[in-house]
Amino acid sequence: MQSNDRQMPASDLDAPMPSKRMVLNMGPSHPAMHGVTRAVVELDGESIVQMKLDIGFLHRGFEKSCESVTWNQCFPYTDRLNYVSAIMNNVGFALAVEKLCQLEIPERASWLRVIGSEVHRICDHLTLIGAMGMELGAMTVFLYAIEARDLLWDRLTELCGARLTSSYCRIGGVARDMPEGWDQKVIQSLDRVAELREEINGLLARNRIFMDRTQGTGVVTREQALEFGFAGPCLRASGEPWDLRKASPYLVYDRLDFDIPVGANGDNFDRYMMRIEELRQSDRILRQCFQKIGPGEIIASDPRYVLPPKPEVYGTIEGVMHHFKIVMEGIKVPAGEAYSYTEAANGELGFYVVSDGGGRPYKLGLRAPGWPMTASLPHIMKGKLLADLIPTFDSINMIGGEVEQ
């Protein structure tokens, strides 16, 4: 017998459920929102229908501040961009200005910059791995990563005086030379970091939960990655073998023997594996650097850009005048513009410097490596589960300092 189903459903269980999309606000103060970022996600059940990212909570006016201080005074500002790998920011900025000044730096300074950069690259990757593990529930991994990172920070304190915000470079070279016996200590620390790294990898890479949450989530195809402007490990995870250290070698990278890991799937797991593999490669680079570094000057001897030695400053009128002019008016970078790029931990860190011939930058444009990755999040996460947002946000390594300048 045909009953009139529409007027009288068989039971409440069969009745259509009213559903409404929920708008969930994540952040800006949120443990998983790296730095301070606000994500407003519109959810249909557990799937993200639409996501809007609201950034700017950490905007400190980096570009504007740099326009009002002298060139060498910009270094502390650059430190605070990608604050987990500060030396790489310093190096990027110094290279840009030296390109504009057409200044050659001594070889030892190049080696020291590479050493500093690679140590900070290891720190950056450890931070990411630790955070990724922790946010997916593996608290132990975080602690191991922090232990490893702390060891390296101790080494960096011995090198440049600060764990995090190093201000290590100067226009023309580096600020200080490595202390006696530092290279041995770093190698010892690297051994310990390697142990911890293998332990972390052992805990995560074959872990069912980790694999389920990261494999297949946050997939970015190679074409998409390029279109979004990805660079660095995230681009390589999507299959594009592009690394600036190999493509346009700078400093002494052309003399070092290392490999570039390239992923296949472009998912979160691949991005994680990129970091692990890059940790191994950075370790390799560092050991080679310590073997190959030779004695020499750590800063160029061009008096137009470099301060005179202190005994001269205190003792002779020439020295004090020289020091005075450079410090008070700033080095006079020739007028013009230049774009210089380095491979930071996260991707292509670009500085577009415009000088008007004076002692202060006229414009200092920053291409933050994390910027395109963060911008692409709403596109990547459309239609995906909310739970996938967490590992994706982790693996693209958004550092608030550089994205929000």
């Binding site: 570009e63 774009y339 910027w371 963060t374 929000e404």
Partner: protein, 174 residues
């Protein structure tokens, strides 16, 4: 090799691309007419010899006192061919808009929003033209040279609590 890109551009767009030069350090650069930048970029992306598949870094510079006052700078890189090119577009203050290249590369989205936020340059064709880093009620454009370093903003009334659930800012409400 990057100079070949500029040569090709000059050949293909003789009226749009002008004043090519080699920048400090060997960068291949050229100026592009404001209205044609989207065409030039599309060519650079699609032509197999150019293959600039990666979204460029877009920034703007305020040359206060010069006319045209602003300049939008595109730093493009081709990962497959390993060449780099810098295109500069002069933008006068009277017509402060440049065709958006976001339809070509979605990655240019936030860079153009940054230029809008910081300099006030409009990008017609941009899918989401609103401020990026500053809050919506911000008066002025901070990176312009005539905006003071320590500028003060008018006090704005607090948004009602409900707004937090409807999305960021009046411009973002859907």
């Amino acid at each position: 090799m990057s100079k070949a890109v500029i040569a090709a551009l000059l050949e293909r767009f003789p009226d749009a691309v002008y004043q090519p030069y080699v920048g400090v350090g060997g960068d291949a650069c050229a100026f592009v007419q404001k209205d044609r930048i989207a065409d030039v970029c599309r060519f650079l992306r699609d032509d197999p010899a150019m293959d600039f598949k990666m979204a460029p870094y877009v920034t703007a510079v305020d040359y206060l006192g010069a006319n045209p006052r602003f300049e939008v700078v595109y730093n493009l890189v081709s990962t497959s061919k390993n060449h780099r090119v810098r295109l500069r577009v002069k933008v006068p203050e009277a017509e402060l808009s440049v065709p958006s290249i976001t339809p070509i590369w979605r990655g240019a989205d936030w860079f153009e929003r940054y230029c809008l936020d910081m300099y006030g340059i409009q990008f017609p064709g941009h899918p989401d033209p609103r401020r990026l880093l500053m809050y919506d009620e911000f008066v002025g454009h901070p990176l312009r040279k005539d905006y003071p370093l320590k500028g003060r903003q008018p006090i704005i009334p607090e948004r009602e609590i409900d707004d937090l659930f409807r999305g960021p800012g009046p411009a973002g409400r859907s």
